[in-house]
Symmetry: C2
Subunit: 117 residues, 2 copies
DNA sequence: CTGACTAGTTAGGCATACAATCTAGTGTGC
DNA sequence: GCACACTAGATTGTATGCCTAACTAGTCAG
């Protein structure tokens, strides 16, 4: 999917879930997380957003970080989910699904508005 | 559905869509909008949030307001969608659907994390 | 008159995406 | 060795909107 620019308000909140989700498959570093999220259709997640978020997740005990030498580049800071992080991801994903289901019921079906106008 | 307390970050952004959607069926007033959103599962939308939002929508030309006498209560400020508001609702709903679809693909399926832990 | 419910209004606090800026490591070409 | 590009991470100030708190005001019932 090409770069889509979602409203920042929409990213707010769910971005944490997406980052935790990106870590579920195993440890990885910030730059790679950003790339993965972009490929997945989230648009460009700016470093000014991603790194403070990763910092908050670590402060909250949801992820842990370790430094490793880069592969022909600068060093990399690898992040991995803690047990608390896995639980948080699981709980929040369930809630998010309920939330989006509720909003889907409330919002008009696609095409409805256009047909009336 | 009983009152659920969604994170404020999640409401941010989509709340505008939900309010516009509540107005799609016809003019109504703030208090009733709040009730409708609560019944729909959005949780309690505080007046401190709802009224400034309605004000912004009006400033942006997406809704118009008129005062009417209340039915055995205080006066009511009725809001209705403008043409621009209808178009905005339609466009944004499509985008929201795309956004939630993209995030659904990225997030783990419910139960996956639990089975691995 | 008091309290409850109905309706609307406002301001400051807080959290976080965005934009901007910066540091630093490695490799390539000149 | 220097400049540039790409890789990686970090930080800060601004803008935005939900939350909290507080408030005003109309109507009805006890």
């Amino acid at each position: 999917m090409t770069a889509v620019k979602w409203p920042g308000e929409w990213l707010r909140g769910v971005l944490q879930l997406c980052v935790l989700s990106a870590l579920e498959a195993g440890p990885t570093y910030g730059y790679a997380i950003g790339q993965r999220l972009e490929e997945a259709g989230l648009g460009t997640v700016k470093g000014g957003t991603l790194y403070p978020l990763l910092g908050r997740l670590e402060s909250d005990g949801l992820v842990r970080s370790t430094w490793a030498a880069g592969e022909g580049g600068p060093g990399r800071k690898y992040f991995q989910l803690s047990d608390a992080g896995r639980r948080e991801l699981h709980d929040r994903v369930l809630m998010w699904r309920q939330f989006t289901a509720a909003t889907a019921l409330l919002l008009p079906a696609a095409g409805t508005t256009e047909e009336e106008s």
